[in-house]
């Protein structure tokens, strides 16, 4: 399942004449191979979320196309799942009923979808919390529920928008390991937005570095670390150093940067 993005542009037009239109994405092109784990990293406000929303079909692009397995994605985005930073769980539904939401929409019978949801609950370490509401769960658990809710639909591409951004670092580390464990068994293509270089290096096969607004792709870096990875191994550190060269936000302050400065506006 390859995902390809060609010539994607996004401009927010301002109806207020005094203010200019905001060019968020400018000519974004990339191709993701089947079953790869890709991180997208870039300065805040660079349109990473917008990019994911366009791929997920939640927003229209101003220009450009998204292809999945060579076919252009139009309105139907059933093959694509999205996990949000803020979990976006349905507060009135228990863990079980949140996870089975997608199957309920599909019209799967109650008994079957309950069975499937319980499988996920077991696999995701949520046993005992089936009938709890989201407010009764910890942040890490909520995000596991949200991931299960998305994966139960068996998407071909899993988009994740800073999914661990609001978790403390310990929970974050354990969820990263958890995510890798799940992913290695399933082989979905993952597009993972983050602003955390360590996270990107630990998780991904490839890292896409985006430039400041109007954003394009500044650099695509391979992460040739063998899996399972050790966060503190020399090769990981080296890659981290390399990635950091590209993401130091204020390039004026970075004497090692060989990247030409591009005016952000």
């Amino acid at each position: 399942m390859s995902l390809e993005v060609i010539g994607l542009k996004k401009t927010y037009y301002n109806s207020d004449k005094k203010r200019s239109n905001v060019h968020v994405l400018q000519d974004v092109n990339f191709k993701v191979k089947d079953g790869q784990f890709i991180s997208i990293i870039g300065p805040s406000g660079c349109g990473k979320t917008t990019l994911l929303k366009i791929i997920a079909g939640l927003e229209d692009s101003t220009e450009g196309k998204v292809f999945l397995n060579g076919e252009e994605l139009t309105t139907s985005r059933e093959q694509i799942g999205l996990v949000f930073q803020e979990y976006a769980l349905f507060s009135w539904r228990t863990t079980l009923r949140n996870i089975e939401f997608g199957l309920e929409i599909k019209g799967v019978k109650k008994k079957e979808r309950r069975f499937a949801a319980l499988e996920y609950i077991k696999k995701f370490g949520l046993s005992g919390f089936e009938h709890k509401y989201p407010r009764e769960l910890s942040g890490g658990m909520r995000q596991r529920v949200a991931i299960a809710r998305t994966l139960i639909n068996n998407p071909q591409v899993l988009l994740m928008d800073e999914p661990f951004g609001s978790l403390d670092s310990q929970t974050r580390n354990s969820l990263q390991e958890f995510l890798l464990k799940i992913w290695r068994k399933r082989d979905e293509t993952v597009l993972f937005v983050t602003h955390n270089v360590d996270e990107a290096v630990f998780l991904s096969d490839q890292i896409i570095v985006m430039s400041e607004r109007p954003s394009g792709i500044m650099k695509v870096l391979d992460v040739p670390c063998p899996r399972p990875r050790d966060r503190t191994s020399r090769i990981c550190n080296q890659i981290r150093k390399n990635v950091l060269k590209y993401v130091i936000h204020d390039r004026w302050l970075n004497p090692h940067s060989k990247i030409p400065f591009v005016a952000p506006f």
């Binding site: 079909g57 939640l58 694509i80 949000f84 976006a88 349905f90 009135w92 939401f101 929409i105 407010r135």
Partner: protein, 252 residues
Amino acid sequence: MKSVRRCIAPLSLIIGWECLSSYEIIPRYKLPSPVEVVVGFKYILLIGMPPGFHLHNHLIYSLYRVFIGYTAAAAIAIPLGIFMGWSTQLRELMDPIVEMVRPIPPLAWIPIAILWFGIGIKSAAFIIFLGVFFPILLNTISGVCSIDPILIEAARTLNAKTRDIFLKVLIPAAVPSIFVGMRIGVGIGWMTLVAAEFTGVKTGYGLGYMIMVARDVQRPAEILAGMAVIGSVGIFINKGFRFVEAKIVKWE
């Protein structure tokens, strides 16, 4: 300990009141003593006001009027509120009417209600309808409007169609604030009822009517007893609503 502390103020108020009454500092024909109010309560309970018209029948009639007006208001306000919250066009269309009618106190409708429906259950129910309608409508609209857009996006990425989003996301998300509207509405409805019965009932039953009769025959103890009943029933209804709310809205 907390409940003991909560009793101190009302108890001392009643004791102080009783003392002031027994030393004739408060004239009895204006404010009867607590003991006299209890006697008055016994009177409306056992003999009736006017005699033969017992308290429980007054209560049943009042509750019946509120029930009719309230049910009609909720049955219209909740669906209308959901659609007005959902559709910006409908909201823009209806909003001027709502804003025009809403500030008119329900009691100001009494004369025209009597003209339209005559004196009786219909006009009383109509007044209650008006009192209940707007709190429910406005709370329902705001419940639907204030839904976090990310929940709708999440539902869409889970392949929900518009219909699913409406039924499975919007409505459940609005339930807590619909309940708030229903609870505020019933309180206002109950208050409106008593006033509606002052003028909207000529003979027969109703708590408001009962205390007006007591005034006509110069029985302040029975008036106060009637007021106490109205207040207690109000508290009871509110408690009942909170109970149901807590049973249904378990997630908040």
